[in-house]
């Protein structure tokens, strides 16, 4: 069965792809074998992360962007993984991103999959990366990953995406917000969406200033997001600094500025490949994945060595403050050795 699903997926069978995605999301035994057989076919797709605060228009922007990417040369296939939060109380979720993506439904070259975060923090779900591998193997050339509405530190997307787009809207706070660490720092492209609203230019300024501080010695040509080419004495610095995140204005609702956004994404992809950063990013993504897999595998292995009563007993001791969590860990980790001796 897994072998059949795999070959059907590779042939472009969308139902097979959809079922594979479900298996992966469940984390089933079967999905592990499927992913193993798909893995050699991955590594081609350009993964684009879109993050930003709730209500900033991420879904609408994804809608417009996907349509724009489809108009590029050879009409590349576009996959969308849209993550929405799981209720911490019921474990249920309402996944509403498709409401803003209705334009895309007639196009068989676009595949939208909604995903609940299922308790994961960081703006993604635990299986988002593995799901992107399935799309990658199914020859989707662009994979857009929309995170849950993010605040200041949901930055997991940067480990997964080649190009991270941070969406901001006018009036989201003063310039001190823009020099804080966190979400703005991870952007390869910054977008001020809803830029037909009051204060858009000011938001653009704040963001440009923030970037200018990060790329010392570089200046922006007035109003443009590119580095000034008229400053020859800085040329060398420009080259060594590499990519400077452009700040773009969009109105996702009517598509204004989205063509430019698509251009910048393509440009960023080229830049990554030319500089070798593409491989470097893939390497850090793999390192991150391995680290998480090791953590969960070791945890599960360890958990099997400890009887429930024993664990409960230690938790109660910590609860009664007779044991510090550090001491508890020591005891728990040495549990096996003690009983064996």
């Amino acid at each position: 069965m897994p072998a059949e699903l795999t070959s059907e997926l590779r042939k472009g069978n969308r139902l097979a792809l959809s079922r594979v995605l479900s298996q992966i999301e469940k984390g089933s035994e079967k999905s592990v074998r499927i992913l193993e057989s798909l893995f050699p076919f991955t590594g081609q797709a350009h993964k684009i992360g879109i993050t930003g605060p709730p209500g900033s228009g991420k879904s609408t922007l994804v809608n417009a962007l996907a349509r724009q990417l489809r108009t590029l040369e050879n009409h590349p296939k576009v996959a969308i993984i849209a993550v929405d939060p799981t209720s911490p109380f019921s474990g249920g979720a309402i996944l509403g991103d498709r409401v803003r993506m209705q334009d895309l439904q007639g196009d068989k070259g676009i595949f939208i999959r909604s995903m609940a975060s299922r308790g994961a923090l960081g703006g993604l779900a635990a299986q988002t990366e593995m799901m992107s591998q399935a799309f990658d193997a199914a020859a989707y050339e662009y994979i857009i990953i929309e995170t849950v509405g993010a605040g200041q530190s949901e930055v997991d997307i940067v480990n997964l995406a080649h190009t991270t787009i941070v969406v901001d809207v006018p009036g989201m706070g003063d310039d001190i917000q823009s020099i804080k660490a966190g979400i703005l720092e991870i952007a390869d492209i910054l977008v001020v969406n809803k830029s037909d609203q009051l204060g858009a230019d000011q938001s653009v300024k704040h963001l440009q200033n923030m970037i200018a501080m990060g790329y010392r010695g570089l200046r922006y040509a007035g109003g443009k997001h590119r580095l000034s080419a008229t400053m020859p004495q800085k040329q060398e610095e420009v080259e060594t600094t590499g990519w400077v995140p452009p700040v773009l204005k969009t109105v996702a609702f009517d598509g204004t500025g989205v063509d430019k956004l698509a251009d910048e994404i393509v440009k960023h992809g080229k830049y990554l490949k030319e500089t070798g950063l593409w491989t470097q990013k893939a390497e850090s993504a793999i390192t991150d994945t391995l680290r998480k897999l090791i953590q969960s595998t070791l945890y599960q292995q360890w958990r099997q060595t400890i009887p429930d009563e024993e664990l409960e007993d230690i938790i109660i001791q910590v609860l009664q403050r007779t044991l510090h969590p550090h001491q508890a860990i020591k005891q728990l980790l040495s549990y096996n050795k003690i009983t064996r001796n």
Binding site: R14, L15, S18, R19, L21, S22, K26, G27, T86, S87, S90, G91, G92, A93, I94, L95, G96, R98, V99, Q102, Q105, G106, F111, I112, R113, S114, A116, R118
Partner: protein, 134 residues
């Protein structure tokens, strides 16, 4: 091993613009621990089947208040079948005349709900229908 999450597509086919009922149901299912994909208003049968395919849902819940159920529902069920998803359980809610219900059930609708339905009943029905399917 994580428990199996029930995934439900809540869709409004046809032209009526009243989705309060659909949203109330979506919320109730969420509070019952299901993952609900809501697609918005004015969906064609093709759009609904396409969303069900991409999302690999267990259940499709349709809300129709326009009176077009006899035209739309069989089309949707046919589209699901054409896509190879005949295993999806279809529920229908809205203003459905008594006389039409039997025909819709014969077409493959699992159950029809009218105004004033207790949402707990819907949750229970979905759970038992999905576990019977699995």
């Amino acid at each position: 091993m994580p428990e199996k999450k029930i995934r439900v597509l809540v869709a409004k086919p046809g032209l009526d613009g009243h989705d309060r009922g659909a949203k109330v149901i979506a919320r109730a299912l969420r509070d019952d621990g299901m993952e609900v994909i809501y697609t918005g208003l004015r969906q064609t049968p093709e759009m609904i089947a396409e969303a069900a395919l991409q999302e690999d849902v267990d259940v499709v819940g349709l809300s129709i208040l326009s009176g077009a159920h006899n035209a739309l529902v069989p089309q949707i069920i046919q589209e699901l079948k054409d896509n190879g998803q005949e295993n999806i359980v279809v529920f229908l809610g809205g203003i459905i005349p008594e006389d039409d219900i039997q025909g819709l059930l014969e077409q493959g609708v699992h159950k029809v709900y009218g105004p004033g339905t207790d949402t707990r009943e819907v949750c229970k029905d979905i759970r038992s229908a999905v576990s019977a399917e699995a």
